[in-house]
Symmetry: C2
């Protein structure tokens, strides 16, 4: 494969952030290789959303890797701990939430690194965000820098002098800024699912941390919130 072409592996969960990261990479002129991971998450509708977004933003290829992290347990997103609802931003920022998946970004970036190497690609993008990061340690800039350093010692291409670059276009943006950026790039956010507890149709609960941060972001950005919510009557 031609290693001088401009191509990038983008981690795509199907949520608002990763969809925006994908749109940014597209605008930068990269050929897009979207990577999603079916890690036994409870919110499977995210994976459906990733397929819609991959089509919407015209990726070259979309890989979905199946991997069962439920074997480990330990998180509300893969285990049967309940997703916290209706919390204030202050409550969310107190410590690391139950929805933290152990070493998730390390596992996801490792898979992206493997696929990038097979494809002969040196660029990887992730929608991690340190501002609204809800206390996830693996969303911080120092973590990303350390991963990039490790990646440059890990692979055949790195040994041969091709430097891996981890792009984190959203790392210093607020949710509102992310939404403004994506909207200006034409991202249709109604196709995305951020909710930790979405219905099988991909409708958002409107009450988990992720829904609340997202809704506040649309409001602050002054952008119409096109999220598909569970109809109020279904919440009774």
């Amino acid at each position: 494969m031609d290693s001088d072409r401009k191509a990038i592996v983008v981690l795509l969960s199907g949520g608002l952030d990763s969809s925006t990261a994908l749109a940014i990479a597209k605008e930068e002129g990269f050929d897009l290789y979207a990577l999603s991971v079916d890690y036994g998450q409870r919110h499977k509708s995210e994976l459906d959303a990733s397929r819609r977004i991959a089509t919407h933003l015209v990726v070259k290829e979309h890989s979905i890797i199946k991997m069962d992290l439920r074997e480990f347990g330990g998180s509300a997103l893969t285990d049967d701990i309940s997703v916290p609802k209706g919390r204030s931003v202050r409550e969310m920022q107190k410590g690391i939430p139950e929805t933290y998946v152990p070493a998730r970004n390390t596992i996801l970036l490792s898979l992206a690194l493997a696929w990038a190497e097979v494809l002969g690609i040196n660029d990887i993008s992730t929608g991690v965000n340190a501002v609204d990061y809800s206390g996830y340690p693996d969303c911080r800039p120092e973590y990303i820098a350390a991963f990039q350093e490790m990646a440059n010692l890990a692979t055949k291409s790195a040994v041969e002098g091709k430097k891996i670059k981890i792009h984190t276009p959203l790392i210093n943006l607020s949710k509102a800024e992310i939404i403004k950026r994506g909207t200006s790039l034409g991202v249709d956010y109604s196709l995305t699912v951020s909710c930790y507890d979405a219905s099988t149709l991909g409708q958002a609960c409107g009450e988990c941390d992720s829904c609340l941060l997202r809704a506040a972001g649309f409001m602050e950005a002054g952008v119409n919130d096109s999220t598909m919510y569970v109809p109020p009557v279904a919440r009774l």
Copy 2:
């Protein structure tokens, strides 16, 4: 879970090296949590070997994570590229072999990190080896050091001050030294499978790089080679 107990997650492929690393951790007094990954490798008999060794060395728990890396392709171990046979050590050391699996150790160590965090364990062991490493970049000490540094920024436990340590007890040993060490610890190597092209019964081909390095190791160590080989008549 009591985070002060002495416990370790050991990556266990079922081969000679990782089985020896497991025996060393046992001798050091750790409670053993063996982690194997079914990543779509052609040599499935390795996984059977990992089960035998986990029983032989009395681990507390053995997890086998299923993950399909064949989606990526790119290696003789997961794809249908043929495994090189009958090469000299000099040929093996020329560059990185076809059997290199992209980012394999990074993916394996990431999974170990995730499980260690769920279990409240700070120690991880891998049987990587820089001497007979056949040109794998992710077996070098500088790679392991970079992984450890990244891991210490990646997890909730690290943020809370529990330092992750990656043990590499074999990193500076020759194959012969590894075999002598394991033999002194009572490892039954007839239970292990190193072959890249083993039969479904786990019998070794005797001709791939891994078989040749292993056989030479037994000879150099002066230890009886208890490997189960494919009967000569079956090779005709």
